[in-house]
Symmetry: C2
Subunit: 368 residues, 2 copies
């Protein structure tokens, strides 16, 4: 199944900061068919560096979507049954308006004049897309990591429009450790002289800083265990230490490769804006209480975490579950055993698929 | 008690890589008095960014030593009883020969022409210092993190010269995750255009890269818990998000501060060489077996780890303990409860002091 990324432009969007973006575009893909009652739509929400291409083979690049093992005919999000939508987030660099987009006021890329955005703003733009597609109520919203934050935001801010929410490997608010890892990545980008205060679009992008930021990210996405299994202390194409500063260990060459690859497909300013949106995310705002945030929630929930995920540890999911249960909401929780760390929601999907499949089936049974 | 750092120069040292350094200096401090039988000497081994100034108040800077809460009259390493020595490691930048030292062959700083060094080389230079002080056998060697690696190396390579070893919060070999964090730090330094392939001594040092490296380090030294306790999501000198890229959260300002402070006292090339020495450290070399490495060990051991230390997790200490016990060596092990993460061996020292005090007393009773 080959797919094309589509886009729709809206006149403007008002942001949480008070700023307004005029106009705003959103890139998206859809898989499967919307039924006549428009009751089978599921919105997939991508993580930090994802995009709208979640499933199928891209017509343009020939590459499979980032969650192709989870979305498709007969898969967890079964496109024989459901109409699945995925869009690129606001502030992104894969078709949706972001800092690399042209500011119509100036004719130049926004750069750092792009307004600061929040997870709430990303979701607000998604509601406009869902309106555009003529869908009043989503059967489900689902995503991992930053995608999970968006799923939570949907359930909290648009309770009437979401029947079920599936937040995976995520949190109701970024912890100082999570903020800290993001901040070091931002500092690495901003320390790169090629960053030029964000005005690098006519020249060389800050590739060194962005690669460092991505290397840090990759360490946090894996687990101590999965790194031992994948790399151990194996040396790279040699039998002995080099006793120099070339690559000695396989893990070093892996990180350098992932860092350099990322630079070819991601915009450094998007890195800054999207990580900042993650750090600002805090469902306890403004009351200070998660219980208050979940007061108006009506969706049913499937919350998933992974045993070896130390970036978004299970205790963060369990806090969400505890508060929802206390409020007598319908919530199922699975901590799945996996060695893959935070990456598990993308790569270790057999059990995850089973629980999602079951949860969606029961959601349909009770609601359609 | 004010102390002065001293130094001694030796003609040369042969390194594990096959290279030779001519001459080589080592900076050190001593606390307490060596007894007549020279049987009360304890060598303290510093961690990655430490120096010879472990205790007392520096005559030069007025600052207390990095382990002043643990070394001194009546403290864990009781200077009323013991003669305590601490030296700066080979490759360092606090008085011992390192990449910032002048290469007598060229009259210029070594920079990246400095030979690659290992933990074994650091310890070899320490044996020369101990010889110089006229001490045949050390009552104990002790240190945390990279200091613990040196303690292990002493026990393995110089079994006749060490009565007791106290490796704290350490490992017998760096894991891929530990290598990965070091590698990102190195890449951050080497990506800084001011690094100039290591030839920055006549100009501006690569302060931005070094600060990034240090920020990453600080995240790994703390725990998720200690960061929540210390910072939470508290905002810095404002009541609301800035909706910009200035500092929002206290954790951000803490990291930026620690990064910028480090640059004033540490040499970026030393960062490269010392982290590489850590990464090369592997007691299972060349046989592939820790059991074989511990074959000739005769010291008694006190191994300490901390419950919330995720950089050098307890399982790494437990592996050392397991192998030593299997070889029927005298080994005590404590996993101490602490929220402070890897930093615990420096800051959460009450219980650590108790177990060290008891272990040293029993060592004296049995051996002096």
């Amino acid at each position: 199944m080959t797919v094309d990324t589509q886009a729709v432009e809206f006149d403007s969007i008002s942001l949480e900061s008070g700023a307004k973006l005029t106009p705003v575009s959103i890139a998206y893909e859809t898989y499967g068919a919307l039924n006549a009652s428009k009751s089978n739509a599921i919105l997939i929400l991508h993580a930090f560096s994802g995009d709208a291409h979640a499933a199928g083979i891209s017509h343009e690049t020939g590459k499979p979507g980032w969650w192709d093992n989870t979305i498709g005919p007969g898969k967890a999000f079964d496109t024989d049954k459901y109409f699945v939508i995925c869009s690129n987030v606001l502030g992104g660099c894969q078709g949706t308006t972001g800092p690399a987009s042209i500011n119509p006021q100036t004719g130049c890329p926004y750069g750092m004049s792009f307004p600061v955005i929040t997870i709430g703003d990303m979701v607000r733009l998604q509601t406009m897309l869902v309106d555009h597609l003529g869908i009043e109520r989503l059967l489900a919203v689902a995503g991992g990591s930053m995608g999970g934050m968006q799923a939570l935001e949907w359930a909290v801010s648009y309770p009437d429009r979401v029947i079920a929410a599936i937040p995976i490997a995520t949190t109701a608010r970024h912890s100082p450790q999570q903020i800290a890892f993001n901040e070091v990545g931002r500092q690495a980008i901003m320390a790169d002289p090629d960053w030029c205060e964000g005005n690098y679009y006519s020249g060389k992008p800050p590739g060194r800083g962005l690669a460092i930021a991505r290397m840090i990210g990759h360490i946090t996405y894996m687990s101590d265990e999965s790194m031992r299994e994948k790399f151990g202390r194996r040396l790279r194409e040699k039998e002995k230490f080099g006793f120099d500063f070339s690559v000695d260990f396989e893990v070093e060459s892996y990180l350098r490769y992932r860092g350099s690859q990322f630079v070819t497909r991601f915009d450094a300013n998007s890195y800054l804006y999207i990580t900042k949106a993650e750090d600002y995310f805090d469902l306890t705002n403004p009351t200070g209480s998660l219980t208050a945030a979940f007061q108006k929630v009506t969706s049913r929930f499937l919350v998933i975490s992974f045993s070896s995920d130390w970036l978004y540890p299970s205790y963060q999911s369990e806090e969400i579950v505890r508060v929802l249960r206390r409020a007598n909401r319908n919530v199922a929780y699975c901590e799945l055993p996996s060695n893959y760390g935070h990456d598990a929601f993308l790569v270790d999907v057999a059990e995850q698929s089973d629980v999602i499949r079951g949860f969606l089936a029961s959601t349909c049974k009770e609601n359609i």
